[in-house]
């Protein structure tokens, strides 16, 4: 009988909570959830990126050290997007990893071969005023360790994935450089690497403690980017706010020597590039 009385109190407590919440809603009828479009504007300095074929020695960009290069292909993962407002409102884009492609959420692959992939449309955002965005570049441990995944995380469907050191390539760019040290390689089965190309693949999501006295080389190249908007935006049903973020490949490749660094395919080699990602992603503007 005691437990019945406890149950009754719990029941009444929950019921009264429910009533309180209902009253609050009646006082201030809330707007319905809204949307936000996030546009990643890929740039090389102040210019847009004009993709060139592998082997195309038309160089439309020369860096500060006089190296002429172009870009043929790029891709990066954006995940774990969070929005915040000055009044404490917060939106967390839910993450889900599963084999069922239609149920995978929160992971986005911006890839140069897929037009429109640079636009991420979030919905179901709690109405309010927002002025900050946070996101992860890459797929961190929580995503990798869920196992096989569909959609943009499916290696047979365009995901950039390392099999030997299993995990996703968080940020990758490939192209041609006038002084690249890359020689021609025939890999067989129709696969080849052309002379004068370069490929920078930034991956690696694990932390392994180095031995005493040794530099940590097995690095976690996952980076979280946090950007403040220059003005707040209102998100609610009926509005179409947008946030523009520049992705400046000039910052990623600043200081590279293509004659020596043209094939980056290991976490330790990618670390210097991962450290630059915080400069690569820059807030541009928002509008309602």
């Amino acid at each position: 009988m005691k437990s019945t009385i406890k149950f009754l109190f719990a029941f009444l407590a929950i019921a009264s909570l429910g009533l309180t919440a209902c009253n609050k809603d009646d006082d201030a009828p809330a707007k319905d959830p809204g949307t936000l479009s996030i546009l990643f504007d890929n740039k090389l300095g102040d210019k847009g990126i004009s993709l060139k074929d592998f082997g195309d020695k038309t160089f439309d960009y020369t860096d500060a050290n006089g190296q002429a290069f172009n870009i043929s292909l790029f891709a990066y993962y954006i995940s774990a997007i969070e929005l915040e407002g000055p009044g404490g409102v917060k939106h967390i884009d839910p993450l889900k990893v599963t084999a069922n492609a239609s149920e995978v959420t929160g992971y986005y692959h911006v890839i140069s071969t897929t037009p429109g992939s640079n636009v991420i449309n979030l919905s179901g955002i709690e109405p309010g005023t927002y002025n900050k965005i946070r996101f992860t570049v890459g797929v961190d441990e929580s995503g990798v360790q869920e196992g096989a995944a569909g959609g943009v995380l499916d290696p047979a469907n365009g995901a950039w994935f390392w099999n030997w050191n299993a995990g996703y390539i968080g940020f990758g760019v490939e192209g041609n450089a006038s002084n690249s040290g890359q020689e021609y390689v025939d890999w067989g089965n129709g696969f080849e690497t052309l002379e004068g190309t370069y490929a920078i693949h930034v991956g690696g999501w694990k932390d392994v403690e180095p031995q005493p006295g040794e530099d940590p080389k097995f690095v976690n190249n996952i980076k979280v980017i946090e950007l403040d908007f220059d003005s707040s935006i209102k998100i609610e049903d009926g509005l179409s706010p947008q946030a523009h973020i520049n992705v400046n490949f000039e910052e990623l490749l600043k200081g590279i020597d293509f004659s020596a660094t043209y094939a980056v395919h290991r976490p330790d080699l990618g670390k210097p590039f991962a450290e630059k990602l915080v400069e690569v992603f820059e807030f541009d503007h928002v509008h309602q």
């Binding site: 437990s3 019945t4 149950f7 009754l8 029941f11 009444l12 990893v97 599963t98 084999a99 492609a101 990798v144 360790q145 869920e146 196992g147 096989a148 995944a149 569909g150 995380l153 499916d154 290696p155 047979a156 469907n157 994935f161 099999n163 030997w164 050191n165 299993a166 995990g167 890999w187 067989g188 089965n189 694990k206 392994v208 180095p210 031995q211 040794e214 080389k217 097995f218 290991r266 976490p267 330790d268």
Partner: protein
């Protein structure tokens, strides 16, 4: 006292109680249910994402034995992972053999008890069981195929489209479901019914005096690395095979100089069946392995400190110790597992 609210609350409570009563009857024995042996640790595999079902297991088995996963249809997973040797390679393949008879660089390890493993391959480069087959499919000296082609071939095959529909309720075959199926098959490869297991679980089995002596000596001399019921601590160590390393092992993954020449401490379950031994198949017999630890180790700067003692390198083993340890290791053979019809090719 009996207000309507109390009446309804009691009624609700009654319903809850009667519901939980209905859960009581025991389920029929299901061979496709993943069970954790009493003496094993908890599994690491993400079963919530991919529970084992009969249809998924059958699909995984079909894929495992089918050379459709290779570039030219000449090799399957089964080429290097054979049930008779606890899904390690046959002794006639000291190193793995892939398409075009291409020789691999390492001895294919057994696939038993994978659900309990945190990392895979001799260097631990893969951290989730689902991703293991990608490595084998794409390696040019193994199956030398692209995952895109595998998916295309499976989609073009009515038998497989039907099996994927049965297993996962999908009309189009995709890679992640292919990997799910293979994981379901390998996850069921739990080998925990050796003579040792029946002894340690008090299921009526007993060990001979020599085997018990071997267990004690093994625990003392080998148990620091081959610890726990899986007989590995899953660490990466240099056990003194070489002083130069063409295959640098764990260093390939971590890029740490301190990891050059380190390889995973292997599980010793079914070890009597999985010759030859070591990542590079250096030793043909367990006697050779113990002789190596006794007096065959060579120095490289990453040598595991466990082996460094005042007499030099190695583990001090008398011939009687070796005989006893081998007698004990033989009790780790699970004859039920290697004969289990569940895993037979259909």
């Amino acid at each position: 006292m009996t207000s309507p609210v109390v009446y309804w609350a009691c009624l609700v409570l009654t319903v809850f109680v009667s519901c939980s009563d209905e859960d009581e009857p025991t389920l029929p024995v299901n061979r496709y249910e993943f069970r954790v042996p009493e003496n094993f640790p908890q599994p690491i595999y993400t079963f919530d994402n991919n529970p084992v079902t009969k249809a998924g297991f059958d699909l995984g088995k079909a894929l495992f034995y089918d050379p459709i996963l290779s570039r030219d249809g000449s090799a399957s997973c089964n080429n290097c992972h054979i049930q008779a040797t606890a899904f390690a390679d046959s002794p006639v393949h000291p190193l793995s053999v892939g398409v075009d008879n291409r020789l691999g660089i390492r001895n294919a390890p057994p696939l038993t008890n994978m659900a309990f493993f945190p990392e895979f391959f001799w260097d631990g480069g893969v951290t989730h069981l689902d991703f293991v087959p990608i490595n084998a499919i794409e390696a040019d000296f193994e199956l030398d195929e692209t995952v895109e082609n595998v998916v295309a071939k499976l989609n073009a095959n009515k038998k497989y489209r039907d099996m994927f529909r049965d297993a996962f309720d999908i009309e189009e075959v995709t890679l992640p479901y292919t990997l799910y199926a293979l994981s379901q098959f390998t996850n069921m490869m739990v080998s925990a019914n050796s003579k040792y297991d029946r002894y340690i679980r008090n299921e009526g089995g007993s060990l001979t005096a020599l085997e018990l002596e071997g267990l004690a000596t093994f625990s003392e001399k080998c148990g620091a690395c081959h610890s726990g019921e899986l007989f590995t601590d899953f660490s990466y160590r240099n056990n003194g095979l070489d002083s130069t390393f063409a295959d640098t092992g764990r260093n390939r993954i971590t890029a740490l100089n301190s990891d050059i020449g380190k390889f995973r401490v292997p599980s010793l379950r079914n070890v009597a069946l999985t010759a030859p031994y070591m990542h590079n198949a250096r030793f043909k017999t367990l006697e050779e392995v113990l002789d190596h630890y006794d007096n065959g180790m060579v120095y490289y700067e990453t040598i595991d400190e466990t082996f460094v003692n005042q007499n030099g390198l190695g583990i001090d083993l008398e011939e009687t110790d070796k005989a006893a340890i081998i007698a004990f290791l033989n009790t780790l053979t699970d004859f039920d597992f290697v004969q289990d019809t569940l895993f037979f090719r259909n």
